[in-house]
């Protein structure tokens, strides 16, 4: 069984073995991310001069400026999300809650709807091609959706400042997961566990790049289910899509092949986020003026992002996104502490 780490990727980009070239890409990405967040800070400060963000009282800024800027921002997020390998929700919630004047309730509600829309857009194709596996997704989705409801209830009941601090901490933790977590193309599963055997969770998918059918099975299913309860809780509480956590658990813990993990994660978000989204919808935490332009912007951006995937330099974009997440997570923490 061939095991390939993503860590090897820079060598593929850089056959000459010049490590400095890879470092330059990372630094370029960090620079892009920092510039993007700086633009948001400056814009935010300029708007704050005309709008009292804490009281909501505004002096002259036309209402349409906000959905239009939200559309532009989510369009950019949509473009970078796919090459960076993250979902829209995980970018949307920390950035919009840090730089826009909406209550966190509405941002989390919109974040869930964005993650849900993205998952619904990708899900049918992945299922039809057999890249996402319904049998692998159903048990973990059940656990995750139950806990996402609990997370949504707790998140909507807690004081906003506490949720903001928690959000900042979770986003910073996600940054570390993104930087440190390795990924295994074809994990070596010597012996499937008894639960996965009983549930008959195994299969074969076709790998287009090598024109081969990959036979896969999983292990550590009980541990995976426990971790998915935690992932579901966080997704519901903070309105984040949970692809950042789904993929490492499916791939590194349960031993599903990387592409199958990514595809199944994309699909199972549609189930996890649906249950949490209903809690937000019923609580009135859905503001059409926030949700609609965000979904449309993100979908259009993702369309362009998917086209750019073959031309863009994923490492630069990935590090730009990691920097954006780090800075907005840090800002969410400061906002939570009232700094």
């Amino acid at each position: 069984m061939i095991v390939m780490k993503w860590k090897l990727k820079p060598n593929l980009d850089n056959p000459g073995g010049e490590e400095g070239y890879s470092m330059k890409k990372k630094l370029l990405g960090v620079l892009f991310g920092a510039v993007f967040i700086s633009i948001l800070v400056v814009t935010n400060s300029a708007l704050a001069a005309t709008v009292n963000l804490s009281s909501g009282a505004h002096s002259g800024t036309p209402w349409w400026v906000w959905p239009l800027s939200l559309f532009a921002l989510t369009f950019v997020m949509g473009v970078v999300a796919i090459p960076a390998g993250v979902g829209g929700g995980v970018l949307f919630v920390p950035i919009v809650s840090s730089f826009f004047p909406f209550n966190l309730d509405f941002v989390r509600g919109a974040g869930l709807m964005i993650a849900l829309s993205g998952s619904l857009a990708a899900g049918p194709g992945l299922l039809k091609r057999g890249m996402a596996d319904l049998r692998l997704a159903m048990p973990v989705a059940l656990i995750a959706s139950v806990f996402s409801i609990l997370g949504a209830v707790v998140g909507l009941a807690l004081p906003a400042k506490l949720v903001q601090i928690g959000l900042g901490a979770v986003i910073l933790a996600i940054v570390f997961v993104m930087v440190l977590a390795k990924k295994s193309e074809y994990p070596d599963v010597k012996l499937p566990d008894s639960l996965s055997i009983a549930l008959r969770i195994s299969g074969i998918y076709h790998e287009d790049s090598t024109k081969q059918d990959i036979d896969w099975k999983i292990h550590r299913t009980p541990v995976g289910l426990v971790l998915f309860s935690f992932i579901g809780f966080l997704a519901g509480m903070f309105g984040l899509g949970a692809g950042w956590a789904n993929v490492p658990v499916l791939n590194l813990v349960m031993g599903a092949p990387l592409k199958l993990s990514v595809a199944t994660s994309s699909f199972l978000l549609s189930i996890t986020d649906t249950s949490a989204a209903w809690i937000y919808i019923n609580k009135g935490a859905i503001l059409p003026l926030v949700v609609a332009p965000s979904i449309i912007g993100m979908m259009l951006g993702a369309f362009i992002g998917a086209k750019l995937l073959t031309k863009a330099k994923p490492q630069v974009i990935r590090y730009a996104v990691i920097t954006m997440l780090f800075l907005s997570g840090f800002r969410a923490l400061l906002k939570g502490f009232g700094i």
């Binding site: 909501g56 004047p101 209550n103 195994s202 081969q212 989204a277 919808i281 059409p288």
Partner: protein, 161 residues
């Protein structure tokens, strides 16, 4: 395993090469019947839901239908919590939006609710297929998931301030 998968999951797999037992050089993998049914409904629901969101948002922006909260007033109140906002706008929680389709902002919930309901419909559709295959465990998982999604959507859960 390949033989077992062939009978259980509608896959046509050629015998695997001895050198690489985990791989075969064929393109014969097919998704299961229930997976294809699920994908078909998901695809259709997604299109209807997203079209609904775009159309209702355009109606909302056009002002054809009077919103519960005037567009220019929304930025004044969107810093409020969802409960406070609903009080100010005169919106009731839960499924009350169903009775407020004459309001432009409430119309948007139509597309949003469709997106939220698709997974439930998909699960309902695959339950008979799983039962027919005597896959009782996964049929039970699907039934419980339907109950969980219905519970979340029901509005039974009330969250206080």
């Amino acid at each position: 395993m390949a033989t077992r998968m062939n009978s259980k999951r509608d896959l046509k797999i050629k015998p695997q090469a001895k050198a690489e037992p985990a791989r075969t050089a064929t393109k014969t993998v097919r998704a299961t019947e229930e997976q294809l049914v699920y994908a078909g409904i998901l695809s259709m629901g997604r299109k209807i839901g997203l079209a609904g969101i775009v159309a209702s948002f355009l109606v909302y922006l056009s002002g054809i239908l009077t919103p519960k909260m005037p567009l220019e007033k929304v930025p004044v109140y969107w810093h409020l919590s969802s409960s406070e906002y609903m009080k100010v706008a005169g919106i009731k929680p839960g499924w009350a939006w169903l009775t407020m389709f004459q309001n432009g902002d409430m119309l948007n919930f139509f597309g949003i609710a469709i997106l939220g309901a698709i997974s439930l419909v998909c699960y309902l559709a695959i339950i008979p297929k799983l039962l027919r295959k005597k896959d009782t465990t996964f049929a039970m998982i699907a039934i419980v998931e339907v109950l969980v999604l219905a519970f979340a959507a029901s509005g039974i859960i009330h969250i206080g301030e």
